[in-house]
Symmetry: C2
Subunit: 356 residues, 2 copies
């Protein structure tokens, strides 16, 4: 049975990427060596990481004066590295609280300085993106989470703010066009639209790096990684290689603009069905609905249980919602084909018919 992988991450990547990655595990470019046994100081790996950086720059149209880094530790380590590097001990940082991941980022920042939470949608179980908030101009930076994987909301706007803007884009980077010039630092755990688990992409304005606020342990110092082009120590070779393959695939598909159009199509198709279908309802207010993680609920627990078991029978994988949000979550990352969404929508329709 064909499996349709709607998992929230680590998630589906293109079949072509799996095939090329498997081939390189056996023999990297007819070198006689596996990608798993090459040195990170080799010419072969230099080409890989350069290629990955250049693809990221090209695909996101990153302006001059920015560095693209490949680090370890996931977004969770970035939650600490950002304030450790850029929030002075007697300083303040502004955070927008749009879900669990924002809250975790806030918790880590508060170890290093004062956190000003400018707005929160916690009052309605994070079902919307707050609109009206004032940004304290004394803050060292403003931190946002552009896509809230658990609750299914997304910020589509590149905020125009007077203080440095920092964004956790773990679950929507490369899914839509962004204006990188509006941001001083963007980070993303790779395991959605970048590549497999085990690498974190950081896009940082070089001028911003100069604002380091304290003495930082070497491995947590963005300046060190920038100066060493992500090769201060042994990087996660294979996750970076697969990320390169995945970005090559994205380019071959027509790039971010093209994939954004497809992502919009996929999301609209599913949201329309959720609205139409009498057995389901959406969790998030319309203007804030994520294109990456579509969260919805059944009208009652029995329906929920039955639909989950139908999905299991039908090879619809990873659709159970996060325990904090409940119900269902269909993740529609770049590599998920429109045909999988059509299949899910058909299954929802058939399920409704079978109940009436």
């Amino acid at each position: 049975m064909k499996i349709h992988n709607f998992g929230a991450g680590p998630c589906i990547l293109p079949q072509e990427v799996f095939q090329k990655a498997a081939a390189a595990v056996l023999d990297l470019n007819q070198s006689g060596l596996s990608i798993l046994e090459i040195s990170h100081r080799s010419v072969a790996f230099d080409e890989i990481i350069d290629n990955a950086q250049n693809l990221a720059k090209e695909l996101l149209d990153i302006p001059k004066g920015y560095k693209v880094l490949f680090l370890q530790g996931g977004a969770s380590l970035q939650f600490s590295m950002v304030p450790m590097n850029f929030l002075p001990q007697d300083g303040k940082a502004a955070y927008l609280d749009t879900g669990v991941w924002s809250s975790k980022a806030i918790k880590e920042a508060s170890l290093f300085g004062e956190v000003l939470t400018v707005a929160s949608s916690k009052d309605k179980n994070y079902s919307y993106i707050p609109k009206d908030f004032n940004l304290p101009q004394e803050a060292s930076y403003f931190h946002i989470t552009t896509n809230n994987t658990i609750y299914g909301s997304e910020i589509f706007e590149d905020y125009d703010v007077a203080i440095p803007l920092i964004a956790d884009m773990s679950s929507d980077i490369f899914s839509r066009k962004i204006d990188v010039s509006k941001y001083d630092l963007i980070y993303a755990g790779a395991q959605k639209n970048v590549g497999p688990a085990g690498v974190t992409i950081v896009i940082v304005k070089e001028a911003f790096l100069e604002k380091k606020a304290r003495l930082v342990p070497t491995m947590l110092d963005y300046q060190v990684h920038a100066k060493n082009d992500s090769l201060f120590n042994t990087p996660p070779v294979f996750p970076i290689y697969v990320s390169m393959l995945n970005l090559e695939w994205l380019k071959s598909q027509g790039g971010v603009e093209k994939i954004e159009y497809q992502n919009l199509q996929k999301a609209e198709l599913l949201y329309q069905e959720i609205e139409r279908n009498s057995l389901f309802k959406g969790n998030v207010e319309t203007a804030s609905r994520s294109r990456m993680n579509v969260t919805f609920s059944a009208i009652d627990e029995d329906i929920e249980k039955r639909f989950l078991s139908v999905c299991k029978e039908k090879g619809i994988h990873g659709i159970k919602g996060h325990r904090l949000s409940g119900g269902f979550r269909a993740s529609l990352y770049n590599a998920l084909p429109l045909s999988s969404v059509e299949y899910l929508v058909e299954t929802m329709k058939d399920f409704e018919s079978s109940k009436s």
Copy 2:
């Protein structure tokens, strides 16, 4: 041409591991999903990480009361995490300086408290392991680097000390029997005898975790990772999977005792040839010679250059020494077969004959 990979790391792993890893990139255990697209919260991954932990425990005969963790950031991040967690601000830590990696660990520790370097072999370009040193009993722990990848020296003794013993075993863990009970914490970047780059193994005594010396950012807190069995955040799924495959292979070979015997054979064969061959000489004093990284020099620069080019012609890969040590370095990790060492020795003999 067959390549004999003597690289210092990321390094050779067993061919069987490459084959199984490649198969899982296409389809993990006939699940219809790639190892690169499964959730770290799935049953499939639970089995993988449990299996990896249990294999590590079995192969190293780890006593009860220890945790095995799989983290990110390499030994380089451990250099900071160790003092951040266990060196109080007004405290002291003892370090043995046996090479560049020890020195880097010392540098990071000195950000957190006072470092007492009990001995150093820097005076002779790290060509020996210091023997006579006094351990200050007021130190919170004693840190050693058991194998010095760059210089080719190794500590074979599990020191019997009265303060907690912490060891960086990045390049010799799983290569020989150790008495884990003598250590409070052992860490190792995986990319030698554990698995591919991108994961770090930590073996820590649970009672030692209680000695946390300060408030630590969540991702840098060993207690957090221990409590969450390495699943606090998304772990590096594929590097952990390949590590599991590699430890399975090690078990199938007869375990650590058997591989230690083979490693000894391989190292003796090569050291004997270096001693016998009139064109080469060893870098390290006999009692401190590493079984993992055999460093040696040619009698002059011309010989060095010529032998390097012979190696290139013959498919002997990764044998150029580190720039700090010069000459040659042949890394003889677990997965390197005896036949590759025999081939290198033959090549050295033929090279000598061709010069006479």
